[in-house]
Amino acid sequence: MAAAPIPSKDEEREVVSTRGPLRLALLAILTSLTAVVTIYLRVPIPATQGYFNLGDILVMFAGFSLGPTVGLIAGGVGSGLADLIGFPLFAPMTAVIKGFEGFLCGALAARRSRLRMHAVGGLAGAWIVAGYFAVEVYLFGVGAALVELPFNVLQGVSGLVIAPLLVQRVASAYPRLARLAEAFPERGGKVALRLGGGAVLVVLLLAGGTYGMQVITPLEFGAEPPLAAYLGTPYEYAFSPNFPAEVVLRTNASWLDLDETNATLVGTPDALGSFWVNLTLSWKGKTAGQNFTITVAPQA
């Protein structure tokens, strides 16, 4: 496991550049490297036409080794650049999603234990899976988003498994990494940063999850209509839709009324015979319908 340190003149070089230029250089170089890794390190998946990329390893590496700022920029701008060159439509959402991934890794686990890095990598991975899913549902529909989902899971998993190992290997082979990280001192408000990052993540995950569930769950009636009614006896059917849907009632039963606030059909039959009822629910592009016939019999 422990790779032998590469003997080099790096150890002797004592001139450490002042912070401004070093920060700029590190940010630019890691941004570029993240983009290149995203473009070049593609893993074809056997038996499918698809592939996934190992860019997330670099995004997480940037955060874990050099802190939230580098994670944010290298992750966001670097991954965004990679998309700009191949799939430019994805670039805006990638910049936001991957940027926050790198930021999280830096804010919650920069230069911490490997276990902690793995755990935070898991959080960050969950974030990219949820983030891409939510945006893709909105842009491309549920089906396409579901097809893309496993690829993002693979990318997240590759990052959370490999990135912490990579941090250790690079640090042991290139001990100056720790000195470079000092170019980005974490100022006060470290706790606030972590709590803020964590809170935002939880809220976003919850919102994304809720939204995803809403999109996936079909609109349904919660009950079956009673088909028998009796002359002069109040008829009631609470159809309890699972979403606050808009209801349209079409019927030839003049005595039947729709109580929209309680999602209930009410009325007292004043004539004998069979009455057809067509009830349509619609909510956010989803629809559901019920067709049934109420038979009104004389007083039981």
């Binding site: 002042t18 290149v36 990579l166 609109l219």
Partner: protein
């Protein structure tokens, strides 16, 4: 496996010479407005217009094939999967278990596919006709701080360098008998991840010497910067920008007040 690292198609057409600020702003406006455009036939018109612009920019078959190769799978995926979940009203054309495919579903899928296609064409139009250096110049011209723009230019500049370095490492593994594309998924990932260690370390070394050379050139010491090339608005740039903004505003007004093109 040679990936394309710069989409720019060198030429001297009117679109190439258009001010990058105008192109960036127009692309951003187009991107946002497409969210509001959902009607099928207007989307056909927009897509045709964008294809015409690509023709005007003399974008050839090679880049056309690149666009097709990178975006067709996504477009087909949307076309196939959208009807399964859309639940639009209309005549039922087919039933798949609990799912019903209606004529409305197909129209909706067509519209979404066209919209995504328009987005893709819009971005490619910008990237095919604008040098990466011009993009950065445009962004700084629109208010991006100089240091950020410089960093972005650096990132663009090192893409081919790191691309070549990564390829070399992978080739070195292959010549030693590593079968990068054989075996299980884990094995494939592991081979590639190994190439990352030398890549990262050489990149960090490069960053350090880059920082020193930036400092040696007094980077960041001047307050007032001068520039060799400055962007100047030509009348035609302003006219194009005004047309785009005007058409965008008109569309948005119609869309939000009269509800057309929904």
């Amino acid at each position: 496996m040679v990936a394309l690292l710069d989409l720019y198609a060198p030429s001297q057409t009117a679109l190439h010479r258009l001010d990058p600020r105008a192109k960036l702003l127009s692309t951003a406006v187009g991107f946002v407005l497409l969210f509001f455009l959902g009607a099928f036939w207007p989307l056909v018109v927009v897509a045709a217009f964008l294809v015409a612009l690509l023709g005007l920019a003399r974008i050839g078959g090679r880049r056309g094939r690149f666009v097709a190769r990178s975006s067709l799978p996504l477009l087909l995926l949307i076309l196939i999967t959208w009807p399964l979940f859309s639940g639009a009203p209309g005549d039922v054309l087919a039933t798949l278990g609990p799912l019903e495919i209606t004529a409305g579903d197909l129209w909706a899928a067509g519209s979404i596919v066209l919209r995504v296609l328009c987005w893709i064409l819009l971005f490619f139009l910008l990237l095919f006709t604008t040098r990466q250096s011009e993009l950065v110049r445009g962004l700084t011209g629109l208010g991006l701080p100089y240091r950020a723009g410089f960093g972005l230019a650096l990132a663009f500049r090192y893409l081919p360098t790191f691309g070549a370095a990564l390829e070399t490492t992978l080739d070195a593994q292959r010549t030693r008998g590593a079968e990068v594309d054989r075996g299980s998924l884990v094995r494939r990932v592991r081979y590639r991840a190994r190439a990352l260690i030398p890549a990262i370390i050489s990149a960090l070394r490069l960053a350090e010497s880059l920082a020193l050379s930036l400092e040696a050139r007094g980077f960041g010491s001047e307050r007032e910067r001068t520039a060799l090339r400055r962007l100047r608005w030509r009348p035609v740039d302003l006219v194009v920008l005004a047309l785009v903004l005007g058409a965008g505003a008109l569309f948005l007004w119609l869309r939000l007040t009269a509800g057309t093109f929904a």
